[in-house]
Symmetry: C2
C-alpha cells in the first residue's frame, strides 16, 4: 500500500457475521487499501482490525473509524450501550462493546451503525442515493436487512430497522416452511441465500436464470418492497447483497412491484421509470466498506454526546 504519509485517512470496518473487511480511504471516498479476514471470536477479530489501523493512528493520520456492523446493535449515541453488538444470535458476540474497543485501542473517534445504514450512508455520499434524503438500502444475501435515511437522517428509533423480517404473503401453493429461527416464513426465512439453498438443495448461484425459483424470489422481495414504499415513501430503493448479483432479478422485481402498487402511488418514477427507482448499489462490492468510511467522515458531528467515544 502506498499512501502519502502527510495525508489524512479515514478507516472503515464492514463487520459481517462471516467476514470483516477493513479499509482506508481519503476524504473523497477513494479506497486506498483493504483487508479481509474471517469473523471468529470478538477478541481475535477486533484485535486484527485494531492491528490493521494502528500504524495510521500512531502516526496521527487516522482521523476516524466508521463501523457498519451485523446486529442487532445499539446505534443510539445517547444510550449507555451505544456501540455494542447486543442480542445477536452469533456465539460469543452478545453484549460486545465493539465501538468502544476500537475507539480506546486506537484513541480515535468511532461512528457506529448497522451494516445497511452504513452502506446507505456510502451510497448517499458517493453513489446511487446522492441528492436524495429519503431512500432504502436493502441487502439480500446470507441474511436480509435494510437501512437508509428518512429526511436526511439514518433510520433508527426504538432500536433499528429489521426489514428482513417483514411478514409477506405466500405465493399460492408454495409450501416451503422458511428457515428463520424466529419467524419461519418471514422474508429472510423465505428468500435469503441460505433459504434458497434449503429450498432447492444447492447453492442459488448454480440455479439457471430462467428457473421458476427466481419468480418466487421476485414475488417475496417485491411484496416487501411495495410495503416499504407504502411505509416510508423512499425516493429510491437500492438492492445489494449476494442474491442480487443475479442481475435478471431486477427486471422481475420491478415488474412485480409495479403490479403490487397497482397504480396507487402517483409518481412518474414509480409509474413509468421503475428501472431508475429500484437499482443496484453504485458502489458495487465496495458499498459495505466505503459505507463504513462514509460513517467515519461524519464521525465528528455524530459522536459528540456519546458515552466513551472521543469527539
Amino acid at each position: 500500500m502506498e499512501i502519502d504519509r502527510n495525508n489524512q485517512v479515514w478507516g472503515g470496518i464492514e463487520a459481517g457475521g462471516t467476514k470483516f473487511v477493513c479499509g482506508l480511504a481519503d476524504a473523497s471516498g477513494r479506497l486506498l487499501d483493504e483487508v479481509r479476514f474471517p469473523t471468529t471470536n470478538p477478541e481475535q477479530t477486533l484485535a486484527r482490525a485494531i492491528e490493521y489501523f494502528r500504524p495510521y493512528s500512531e502516526t496521527g493520520r487516522l482521523v476516524a473509524v466508521g463501523i457498519g456492523s451485523f446486529g442487532p446493535i445499539d446505534p443510539n449515541p445517547d444510550s449507555p450501550t451505544y456501540g455494542f453488538i447486543t442480542s445477536t444470535p452469533k456465539p460469543g458476540w452478545q453484549q460486545t462493546d465493539f465501538a468502544g474497543a476500537i475507539a480506546r485501542a486506537l484513541d480515535t473517534p468511532v461512528a457506529f451503525d448497522t451494516d445497511t445504514n452504513a452502506a446507505g450512508e456510502g451510497e448517499h455520499r458517493w453513489g446511487a442515493a446522492r441528492d436524495l434524503d429519503t431512500f432504502l438500502y436493502l441487502t439480500v444475501g446470507t441474511g436480509i436487512g435494510g437501512g437508509g435515511m428518512a429526511r436526511g437522517r439514518r433510520l433508527r428509533g426504538l432500536v433499528h430497522p429489521e426489514m428482513g423480517h417483514v411478514i409477506v404473503p405466500r405465493v399460492a401453493g408454495d409450501d416451503f416452511p422458511g428457515i428463520c429461527p424466529f419467524h419461519g416464513d418471514c422474508l429472510e426465512g423465505m428468500v435469503s441465500g441460505p433459504a434458497l439453498k434449503a429450498r432447492v438443495g444447492r447453492s442459488a448461484e448454480e440455479v439457471a436464470g430462467d428457473d421458476p425459483l427466481w419468480q418466487i424470489v421476485a414475488h417475496y422481495l417485491s411484496a416487501a418492497i411495495a410495503n416499504y414504499v407504502y411505509v416510508l415513501s423512499p425516493q429510491r430503493i437500492i438492492l445489494g447483497g449476494g442474491v442480487m448479483r443475479r442481475q435478471e432479478l431486477f427486471a422481475l422485481i420491478r415488474e412485480r412491484v409495479g403490479q403490487w402498487l397497482g397504480g396507487y402511488v402517483q409518481s412518474d418514477l414509480v409509474l413509468n421509470r421503475l428501472d431508475d427507482y429500484i437499482v443496484p448499489p453504485a458502489l458495487g462490492e465496495r458499498a459495505g466498506v466505503l459505507g463504513a468510511v462514509a460513517l467515519a467522515l461524519g464521525a465528528g458531528t455524530e459522536l459528540r454526546q456519546s458515552r466513551n467515544i472521543r469527539p
Copy 2:
C-alpha cells in the same frame, strides 16, 4: 366564542373526505373554538374555512394556519405543487391548490401535510409522542392511513406514506375479497370501517365486542403493525380513528403484534410492555384539529422556501 382580542391564535384545518373541522387554539394547544361542516366541492368548502378564519386574520390575531388533509397530497415545500391535493379519487378535488387558496385569502402563512402526519405532530407536541422522535400515528376509520416522524422529522419522501395500503397475509379461510378499488385486499381493503360494513352487512359499531370479527380485524392490523416496527423501529405506535374507538381491539392487537414479532425485537417495551407501546391518541377526538394547529405552530420554519406561501 370568547377570545382575548389581544392574544394571538393559530388555526387548524382537519380536512377529511367527509367533513372539515376548523379550530382556533392558543400556543399551548388549548382549543378555543371549533366548527364542523361537510366536505362538498372545493370552492364551497374552502370558502367556508376562509370565512371562519377571516375575522382573526383581519384583526391581525391569526399567526398561521395548519392543514392536515386527506390525500394524496403534495407535502414537499420545495415542489411547485406544494400544498395541493393531487390525484385523489374524491370527485372535484384533484389538483386543488388547498394551501395556496387559504394562504392567499387570509394572507397568512400556511403549513400543510397529511391528516395523519398532522395528528402525529399534535401528539408529538402535546400528547402520546412527547419526547419521542420516531413514532407512528395510524388512523383506522373510513380509510386507513399512517404518518408520524423519523428522527424528529415528519415522514415524507417520494410522496408521503400510504400505510393503509400495505399487503398483509390473509387469515386462513378468510375469503372476503376486500374493497380497495386499487388493491382489493390490502389492509384498508380488508379492515377499514367500510370494509367491515361490507363484510358483516351492518355498521361495525353494532357488532358485539366478543364477535369473531374483532379477531379478524386484530389479525390484519397486527400484521401491518409488526411490519411497521420492522421497517421504521418506532418508539411508540398511536392508533386512532373510528374503528379504534372499539377499545377491546387494543388488547387483541397488542397480543398478536407480540406473536408476530416472535421475540425478535429486543426491547423491553416490545417484549414486556406492549400496553405502553401501542396506545390510543392522548388528544383523543381532537388529535386531528389540534394536529393541524401544531403544524401551524411550526409554520414559520417549515415554509420559508415554499412556492406561494408567505414566510
